[in-house]
């Protein structure tokens, strides 16, 4: 009955919910579903051809040259994930602990550590490209200036160093995020517990291992899951620093670049293939969703409710 307060309230709630739902449906759900659908068709350039079932999936996983490319990119993503787990989350935890213990200069460092996080990836990418410039980059110039010229390298041009250069740039950029999350977790640890521990031991190591680490488990769940998703969706930084080809000779190729190149083509090299590209996108999506689900589930299980 219009006019009744209950109906008006319902209308009001509907009016609030429908626009964001429609937005999500149009810009998130629909593209994902259409990518799923695209993956099952053959594509002639831009025109959709006949339904081919799982042929595109088979192609990107088991036929050459795609199989090698997929494995190569996937291996790099795995490496990136584990390296960042140490360099970003590990260092983030240590930094958070130092900040929490209020070592001298903590107030300054709290800001300094978080500052790069607010920079856009584009800026960080170009900045690090300049740092690593073989002739004028601050890295090589510092090495030469300190008599270590022999260590100066064309960092982004060598298969052995390029991916690591990207990983370090990413860790520098994002280390403030896990730091902040861990710090917030540590600050939530009740002081009674800390006082009780102080009666038992003076060792920082025991404190970290037995008390702090278990109690920041919810924070760890968050940063681990986000790092996993981020590592397997990694795109912007490599795109800016080494280009869509995963240069040099695919030594920095990751799934994001590989998918983009396959679906939309590479202006300076290859054609576009929406079928194979969509199949890759679907595989990446399913893989991330499954593993992230398992990680969250497992990590949740070890969280302690205070």
């Amino acid at each position: 009955m219009p006019g009744s307060p209950l109906v008006a309230r319902r209308l009001w709630i509907t009016a609030l919910i429908v626009p964001p739902l429609a937005f999500v449906a149009l810009f998130v759900v629909y593209p994902i579903i259409s990518a799923f659908a695209y993956a099952f068709f053959q594509w002639h350039g831009l025109a959709r051809g006949e339904f081919v079932g799982f042929a595109n999936f088979y192609r990107v996983l088991f036929t050459q040259p795609y199989a090698d490319w997929t494995l190569n990119a996937f291996t790099h993503n795995v490496l990136v994930f584990f390296a960042l787990m140490v360099l970003q989350n590990g260092v983030g935890f240590v930094l958070a602990y130092c900040l929490w213990r209020e070592l001298p200069g903590a107030a300054f460092h709290r800001i300094a550590v978080f500052l790069p996080v607010v920079l856009s990836t584009i800026i960080v990418g170009f900045l690090w490209k300049l740092f690593l410039h073989p002739l004028f980059g601050v890295v090589n110039i510092s090495l030469r200036g300190t008599g270590l010229g022999g260590l100066a390298q064309p960092w982004l041009g060598q298969g052995t160093t390029a991916l690591w250069a990207l990983i370090i740039a990413n860790a520098w950029h994002m280390v403030g995020f896990p730091t902040l999350v861990f710090l917030a977790g540590m600050q939530r640890i009740p002081s009674e517990i800390l006082d009780a521990v102080r009666m038992e031991t003076e060792s920082e190591w025991v404190k970290i291992r037995k008390v702090v680490w278990p109690l920041v488990a919810p924070s760890a769940t968050v940063v681990f899951t986000l790092l996993f998703v981020g590592s397997f969706n990694w795109f912007e930084l490599p795109y800016i620093m080494v280009g869509v080809d995963g240069s040099p000779h695919k030594a920095t190729d990751v799934l994001g670049l590989y998918f983009y190149r396959t679906a939309f083509g590479d202006q300076s090299g290859s054609g576009q293939d929406f079928g194979a590209g969509s199949a890759l996108a679907v595989l990446i999506f399913v893989f991330i969703a499954l593993v992230a689900g398992v990680i969250t589930f497992k990590l949740r299980a070890r969280e302690i409710q205070l």
Partner: protein, 412 residues
């Protein structure tokens, strides 16, 4: 009453004939952001001659152009007219039926274009031409005339002379070459600009005839010489990206630059004072034919679904005219594909002269029709070669076996 009906019909008829003459706006998409001002000029020349048609020129970032265009066309929108890529890149869009076929009935001028130019904008299987080619590009060596004069150097006639000239520049504290190869496609440019002469026309002809593949000793020798010359590239050149390498040459820190003819106007823009010369890579012996590598860049195409076909064709015919070709060459400093254009800029004239001794830019022209594309393979393999991860023989072998996946003559 009858009178009213007939006069209404007449009035409607008049309106109908007047309709096409009413202002029509064509949209025209391009990846050449840097040429926007020049294109506006070309367009106003067209508009003054064709009142009632206006052309709106819109540009997109070159690396994302394909993506944006593909998405728009697939979504049923898209421009009336557009820049189309050449060779394999054209087929991506054309084979999907998004482009209007062009021939001598709707664009008569196409008949006079060079066959190689038209072939670049023609789908291989159907033999249908989809775009009016706009420019050719040539891979060659650009040098800084002032630096050469100051060090008493001339354009080299043999490979050894080039090595000597490079040594001399190095001794004088100048980088002989400014090139870097961290940007993948630059590796392909190095092969086109440096290795074409040594591999030679004979190799190219045999390759096309199916009598040779990339393990041929002429190709291997060309790659060996290519690797040798990189001794005179900047320190750490494998980590030097394209933009930085351009700056090294434009700023006068490097004496030579291996690149496309498109770099000439670029360098001039970055450093108006620079005096440049060009040469084709010399051969091992003084008499060897010096070769550059040539390809066609792209073309102007019409959307098959445009509602303003007549106006769009009028504009495309203008883009195929000598008047346009001349403006294109004069204002954009590019080698127009329109036949019979005179090059006022002496360097462009020289490029046109060098083009008389050229072979196609092999991977782009012939090997971008399957996966893995020859360009992708070559770019990666040359990065391995320069990084010390592969020998010329291994590169030749990997190219051949890689392409054998789809290139029939290599399947054994």
């Amino acid at each position: 009453m009858k009178k009213l009906v007939s006069s209404t019909i007449i009035a409607l008829g008049a309106l109908a004939t007047a309709l096409p003459a009413m202002a029509q706006e064509l949209t025209f998409w391009s990846w050449r952001q840097e040429d926007k001002a020049q294109y506006q000029k070309f367009i106003s020349a067209f508009e003054t001659k064709n009142p009632g048609i206006t052309v709106k020129f819109e540009t997109f970032e070159a690396t994302n152009y394909n993506t944006i265009l593909s998405t728009a066309l697939a979504g049923g929108s898209g421009p009336d007219l557009m820049f189309a890529r050449a060779y394999g890149g054209l087929e991506n869009v054309a084979n999907a039926g998004y482009l209007l076929p062009l021939d001598k009935t709707n664009v008569p001028a196409l008949e006079k274009f060079a066959p190689a130019a038209v072939a670049a904008e023609t789908a291989r299987s159907s033999k249908i031409t989809y775009a009016v080619p706009f420019a050719s590009q040539t891979m060659l060596v650009i040098y800084n005339k002032d630096i050469f004069d100051k060090n008493g150097l001339k354009e080299p006639e043999t490979f050894d002379e080039l090595v000597k000239a490079s040594e001399k520049l190095k001794a004088a504290g100048i980088m002989p070459f400014g090139n870097g190869t961290a940007t993948a496609w630059q590796n392909e440019v190095m092969v086109g600009g440096i290795a074409s002469t040594v591999m030679g026309r004979g190799f190219y002809d045999d390759l096309m005839a199916g009598k040779a593949d990339f393990t041929d000793k002429r190709y291997i020798e060309a790659l060996t010489k290519l690797k040798e010359i990189t001794k005179y590239f900047p320190d750490g050149f494998i980590g030097l990206d394209y933009a930085s390498s351009q700056q090294l040459f434009a700023s006068g820190m490097a004496g030579m630059f291996v690149g496309g003819s498109y770099e000439l106007s670029n360098f001039k823009k970055q450093n108006p004072a620079i005096k440049m010369g060009i040469f084709a890579m010399p051969g091992l012996k003084a008499g060897d034919e010096k070769l550059v590598a040539q390809y066609f860049d792209g073309g102007y195409a019409v959307n098959a679904k445009t509602t303003k076909k007549e106006a769009a064709l009028k504009f495309v015919n203008f883009l195929a005219s000598q008047e346009f070709g001349q403006m294109f060459a004069d204002d954009l400093n590019n080698i127009s594909a329109v036949p019979g254009v005179n090059f006022k800029e002496p360097l462009l004239g020289e490029v046109a002269e060098l083009n008389k001794h050229s072979i196609p830019y092999i991977m782009l022209v012939h090997f971008r029709y399957g996966e893995p594309s020859g360009s992708v393979l070559l770019q990666g393999e040359i990065q391995k070669l320069f990084g010390g991860k592969a020998t010329p023989e291994e590169v030749g072998k990997n190219l051949t076996t890689g392409l054998a996946a789809w290139y029939a003559p290599f399947k054994k």
